[in-house]
Symmetry: C2
Subunit: 205 residues, 2 copies
């Protein structure tokens, strides 16, 4: 059984990660979205194991101690994390796992799981990113500017990723991610078993 790929989709806020992940998963029904662990209480209709794995603070901290997370962070008093075990179980079943995550989280994962495929989504221009953030309209202008400045600085981390995909058209971006996943599966370093098989199956004396 060939292992699946961990596909980490990341990038600044407003670049369109969520839409791209959703669209890609619709086209690739064998792949799964990574389910996060959180200590925040479930909202109505949220299911344990589907939307999140819900844990107590004590359980979460025990998992941290046991090195059970590919990454985690505390946001406004709640923990959020990517469970190593769930991801590895899916990968070992041959399923690709998609993880939509902010840049800090992606960099943590890169340190612990370098064999993942790290894709950075960028807007066509920074001006467009600013416009997208403003148009969300859910925050006051100062918060928008602050978030935009943060996104601008975060672009620096792009060099630690493998791929950059420009989100000019969502469909083109999804096609590029399709190509990246297909190509990664052809990488020589991901096919050492196949090569060993070819060499073992020769009829050379």
């Amino acid at each position: 059984m060939r292992s699946g790929l961990l596909i980490v989709i990341s990038g600044p806020s407003g670049a369109g990660k969520g839409t791209i992940c959703k669209g890609w998963l619709e086209k690739n029904s064998d792949a799964v979205l990574s389910v996060s662990v959180t200590t925040r209480p479930p909202r109505p209709n949220e299911q344990d194991g589907k939307n999140y794995f819900f844990k107590t603070r004590e359980e979460f901290e025990a998992m941290i101690k046991d090195n059970d997370f590919l990454e985690y962070a505390e946001v406004y008093g709640n923990y959020y994390g990517t469970p190593r075990k769930y991801v590895q179980q899916q990968l070992s079943k041959g399923r690709d796992v998609v993880l939509e995550i902010d840049i800090q989280g992606a960099l943590q994962i890169k340190e612990r799981f370098d064999e993942g495929v790290f894709i950075f989504i960028v807007p066509p221009t920074m001006e467009e990113l600013r416009r997208r953030n403003v148009n969300r309209g859910t925050e006051d202008p100062d918060a928008v500017l602050k978030r935009f400045k943060c996104a601008f600085k975060e672009i620096n981390f792009i060099r630690r990723y493998n791929y950059v995909v420009v989100n000019d058209s969502v469909n083109d971006a999804i096609e590029n991610i399709d190509a990246i996943v297909k190509a990664e599966k052809c990488r020589v370093d991901r096919n050492l078993n196949l090569i060993a098989q070819l060499q073992g199956g020769g009829i050379c004396e």
Copy 2:
């Protein structure tokens, strides 16, 4: 203007490099096949600059001295080589250049042009490779066996390539090469200009 990619398609004799290159070029009409330089005399209907660049032995040796080849070899008293200038002219026009070449040639190119994309075509099994070589039927069985043994040893060089594509179905192989080329164009290290542009085009004070 974005530079094209040098796509080196290589692998053992009988793996199907030629068919795959031809099929891929038919689908990608902006790409070009690399034209080799040779000292062998032109056959009827062969055109200089289209089938080959025809040169005298003296001209070829002067080119070797000037480091004008990405690779070259002498086969049965004739030289064959891949001219650096032709390839670079096409790449600088933004055209992808495909090079179908044996393993020794590909390894020479890798040393001189590491930014190429190195793809190794393998048969589904070594038994299948043997069958394909036998079925060519143009050689005596000893020559076939010798060539097959050589192919078997050559598989060892696969680790110096970037990608391996199994030629089980020609269409699938071509689709994989399409994906590889598309993905390579998204690699962060091939998009440093784009990133610089994004960073320079910010409105951050």
